[in-house]
């Protein structure tokens, strides 16, 4: 059974439909890249997947015991975090909140899980460091560790490599691939980087208000829409930052 199942969903903002008639599935162990141009509805879809915006039509169904609050989400960076005084350990541990429910304090088990995930991502030495003093790549690792603390099944990454230099970007992609393969965690990544998308992902969803293409990467390479998009290469990642359809 599919982990996440979207059947003909539409998402609207104040009566304006942003995404329509979209169907796709995510299975355990999948690596799905969501690609598409500026304002194609990627960010909106992400909001719906994490349950912040319910679809105006259709339903997003979570199966296999995946609960809405158990999606490991790595958001785009926000301004507050630039000067936020928090240790790496505190940030990672906050990913365990969804297992707390109403109980207010973390248990030894939560602390252990946080440490394990930090080890997995090679940031255990940074534990006491201040989040704001880290490099961009280290910050993303910390946020990925936090996302892993929140989930056992599905990671959702929203443009995780924005602002990282090429070497760090490559490392980060490698890391995600490892997590995907070793832990069998399904990965959904919103990306501009079509080259790495077709290199790493097992499935591609090409979004343009609706699915222009959904299927395996193999098929995408052969499809007309895929061929054209891959040929045109990366689509202005900087312009997306400002016009990226952030309709919050």
């Amino acid at each position: 059974m599919a982990l996440v199942q979207c059947d003909n969903i539409s998402i609207a903002y104040e009566g304006q439909t942003v995404v329509y008639d979209l169907s796709f599935e995510i299975h355990q162990g999948d690596y799905l890249c969501i690609v598409g141009e500026n304002g194609s509805g990627k960010s909106t879809l992400v909001k719906s997947l994490i349950g912040l915006k319910s679809p105006s039509k259709g339903k997003i169904i979570l199966n296999d015991g995946l609960r809405q609050n158990e999606i490991g989400y790595l958001p785009q960076q926000n301004d507050v975090q630039k000067d936020f005084p928090a240790s790496v350990y505190e940030v990672v541990l906050s990913g365990r909140l969804n297992s707390r429910g109403f109980r207010p304090f973390y248990t030894a088990g939560d602390k252990k899980a946080a440490k394990e995930n930090m080890q997995l991502l090679g940031i255990e030495r940074l534990g006491k460091n201040c989040f704001r003093d880290l490099s961009g790549g280290q910050k993303q690792r910390v946020l990925l560790a936090r996302a892993l603390c929140a989930t056992k099944k599905l990671l959702l990454l929203d443009e995780p490599v924005t602002g990282l230099d090429p070497i760090v970007t490559a490392e980060f992609y490698q890391l995600i691939k490892e997590v995907n393969e070793k832990s069998k965690i399904a990965v959904v990544m919103v990306s501009h980087d079509i080259e790495s998308a077709v290199r790493d992902a097992s499935h591609i969803l090409h979004l343009q208000e609706t699915a222009l293409f959904f299927g395996t990467t193999e098929d995408y390479r052969k499809s007309p829409v895929g061929r054209q998009f891959i040929k045109s290469g990366q689509i202005q990642p900087e312009a997306e930052k400002t016009a990226g359809g952030e309709r919050s």
Binding site: I50, Q81, P85, A86, L97, Y106, C130
Partner: protein, 277 residues
Amino acid sequence: MIHTIVEMLSYPFMVRAFTVGILVSLCSALLGVSLVLKRYSMIGDGLSHVGFGALAVAAALNAAPLAVAIPVVVVAAVLLLRVSDSSKMKGDAAIALISTSALAVGVMVISMTTGMNTDVYNYMFGSILAMSSEDVEMSVMLSVIVLALYIFFYNKIFAITFDETFAQATGVRANLYNTLIAVLTAVTIVLGMRMMGTLLISSLIIFPALTSMRICKTFRSVILNSAILSVVCFCIGISVSYFFATPAGASVVVVNLAMLAVYTIIGLIKEKRKICR
């Protein structure tokens, strides 16, 4: 030295001022960290002006000041938060609008009833004589509730302060906790404002957090440091107020300012050392 302190504490009004002041400083320091980091610093200022308006109306109606002011300011806090979140009006403009309106209403009411007198002066700049013994009871009760709620929800408050979207995605009801912070802030401000003064109460919220952030590296240490710093600064400030007969609020703010300067210098020195190493 000890003799003068004992003498100072032999006055019941000073004991009341210390009791309420220490609790309010503690609450405002804790809440202040979240407010400053979430860019809501000015909410404190806005709310204190609303509080001034409410107190003026309460005085005119001969009603109990806290019983009128607390509900009014709580409503204003929730309203301000809602307005800040919606994009129709920018948060800072909304705060300026609401706070000046409330201030104007308060001044109008006062000038039409008792007239501008020392009471108004005390409202504005604070007085250590402000607390009656009923006020103390209520203040102690409310501050204890504020502290308890803050500690109970500490981890969730951290999560929504650091990253609201992630917190929401993992099932934390961010709106609920934002409202909680706003309501707790409102209560704290009303409790402290007659002693600290309308114009200066927001400094209790902003200073300790900003000062601690100069040198502290973790959220927990910022919180603890702010709490201790806030209480220490309050005690020094209020003693200054007693010995030199200066307004309480202004004295506390000046001590806070001095502390900020000290922390900033320490922070810079630390930074320099790190670079040299």
